[in-house]
Symmetry: C2
Subunit: 352 residues, 2 copies
DNA sequence: TTGTAGGCGTTATCAA
DNA sequence: TTGATAACGCCTACAA
């Protein structure tokens, strides 16, 4: 009985007929639970082979009320591979535990947030991961539907679990590195904390800039003329290469005698490099540059010294946290996990 | 009757009770088909609101035998955002037609191919998109299961639909551009055609290099000393920045008097820029460089002249082709669609 | 050790 | 115009 083609997909019933047993027996074999005589098992296995049986995850999930689906809401700001790395962490870990990841990539507009969440809920996802900032209202919507959630990297509220990065320590080690190299005229190019009008949303930029200001104040002295902020043009927009370019060009024009720059992302650093080079200056000969993220760093010249964010680990940890909870291995009260950011020294920094 | 929380998700039955009508009536309202009195409709709508009803896509798909899911198999070679752009094209288009995209990102190993396909088939995806090369055997597996498929960019067989890019024209226009700028000692750095041992797999590299060789032969003269190929270390490995760097360093060391380079990807071009800069030379002053893809180009300095691949359009077209077929608007016989590649002139090329 | 039967939430058919 | 009911494919008591 071959009927595997053209949407005539064999079911348990077909396998049962082929093997000459009852449907429930086949089910027991396939799910490996309950008593089955060895003889029957092999008979059934063979029938599974010949019919080309394949479980119907739809039916299984419907019946069991567990889809083994993790919904992942993200906003992949190309070319920034950061979120792709997070997504891979989620996907690979989930897969290793028998879960499928349903990814919803919203581009820009945040009215898509709600649609993404609705899609997940319609598909009865067992848990949700938000690796892009999501409004408290929308997160609550998911929580109220009874689905465990985790907010990754930029939580906007205290709902559910949260996984973040120690941005302060990361930025701190970057500035210390520059100071140790003998720099004192160090500029900061980033995004303005407070521009999102939400204390959670600003968390990341706050910490990065905060560390810069604190360390500089304590050592070389903090000069706000050496700080260049971009305001995101919209809540979804993340300032990138263009901003880094403009800001650096401006800094150089002002003759502030800058000898080093800490950029709050690799994309911004890419723009910084463009501006420096355009002036006929060299890196790190004339100016040292440090980025943040470790996304573009290996592709720029010179190889960029940067603060690495554990993107993959962020995704992996999120998936693990949720699956552990789903399987009763973890309490369900919101946890806060902080991962380390590590300074990676490459070729864009040198002594003054 | 509020029971929307904690996995006590309301069903049609609950809505029906709330509205005091039959389940089938609610179904008619929700799907907007069949006769429903205006009065009943509003009554039902209100019940939908108060109960917080949400369709169960699992049940719906099971019953209707149509999941409205498109499975997308890809291999996101970070940081190359190419595949992310393809994926976004797929996802956004599918969404606009009411389909959900299930993405399976295999990393490296191609034994994952089969697993990805199995996952899609288990979830009863209505159609599949392969935007990474997939073995003929595995593609056939999907086709035999009766699912429409499309192979994007690097088809490895003639199965199903295929969407490719006019790489030959793209490379041709790049070389012509360099010739017009007065260059004659033009190097080519890419991946060795034939290294995959499959005429389909080599399609892309064949065309890019073929155009280079053809145009050069006809004009400045083809010198194979100016060609540097990398062999992929494995079928999954794509030579990148490291290869570009090594190859360019080597070319410069050989004193071949190279004044321009065509790289077969932006990642390779990034390595080329690193090598050139390391020698204290400048771009485009000493050497002009052209990349391929338009992925990293805007982030390098100088802004890279490159051959843009229509990544987003590739994904969009694939999704459209399949959905049209699913909805009977397109014949199901395998179509071959070729999209244009366009030379984007930026700052890394100038007259000799 | 195996089989029977009910139900998961929908949709669709057919009566009423 | 509405309602009862039978699937869809799977799982799981419970009966045999």
């Amino acid at each position: 009985m071959r009927l595997c083609s053209l949407r005539n997909i064999p079911t348990l019933k077909h396998v049962a007929e082929e093997a000459g047993v009852a449907v429930s027996t086949v089910a027991r074999v396939i799910n490996d639970k309950g008593y089955v005589a060895e003889k029957t098992r092999t008979k059934v296995m063979r029938a599974v082979e010949t019919t080309g049986y394949r479980v119907n995850s739809l039916a299984r999930s419907l019946k069991s009320n567990r889809s083994h689906v993790i919904g992942h809401l993200l906003r992949s700001t190309e070319p920034n591979p950061f979120f792709v790395k997070v997504a891979r962490g989620v996907e690979e870990y989930a897969r290793s535990r028998g879960y499928t990841t349903l990814t919803y990539n919203m581009h820009g507009a945040s009215e898509a947030e709600r649609m993404g969440i609705e899609t997940f809920l319609n598909w009865r996802a067992d848990a949700l991961i938000f690796s892009t900032p999501v409004s408290q209202e929308n997160v609550r919507h998911a929580v109220q539907a009874g689905v465990p959630i985790v907010q990754v990297e930029r939580p906007r509220s205290e709902l559910g679990h949260r996984i973040t990065v120690k941005n302060y320590q990361g930025a701190e080690s970057a500035v210390r590195h520059l100071l140790e190299l003998g720099h004192s005229r160090i500029a900061y190019i980033g995004v303005k904390p407070g521009s999102q009008g939400n204390r959670f949303a600003d968390y990341v930029e706050d910490e990065r800039f905060g560390a810069f200001r604190d360390v500089m104040s304590g050592r070389a002295g903090f000069d706000e003329n050496l700080v260049r902020f971009a305001k995101p043009r919209s809540p979804e927009h993340i300032p990138g290469t263009g901003h880094g370019y403009q800001a650096m060009k401006d800094l150089l024009a002002c003759a502030h005698n800058v000898s080093a720059v800490l950029a709050s992302s690799d994309m911004i650093a890419a723009g910084v490099l463009q501006a420096i080079r355009e002036q006929g200056l060299s890196v790190p000969g004339d100016v040292s540059v440090i980025g943040f993220d470790d996304t573009l760093s290996e592709y720029l010249s010179p190889l960029l010294t940067t603060v690495r964010l554990p993107a993959n680990e962020l995704g992996l940890t999120a998936a693990k946290l949720l699956i552990d909870q789903l399987e009763g291995k973890t309490p369900s009260d919101g946890q806060l996990i902080e991962l380390d950011a590590e300074l990676i020294i490459r070729k864009s920094t040198s002594t003054r």
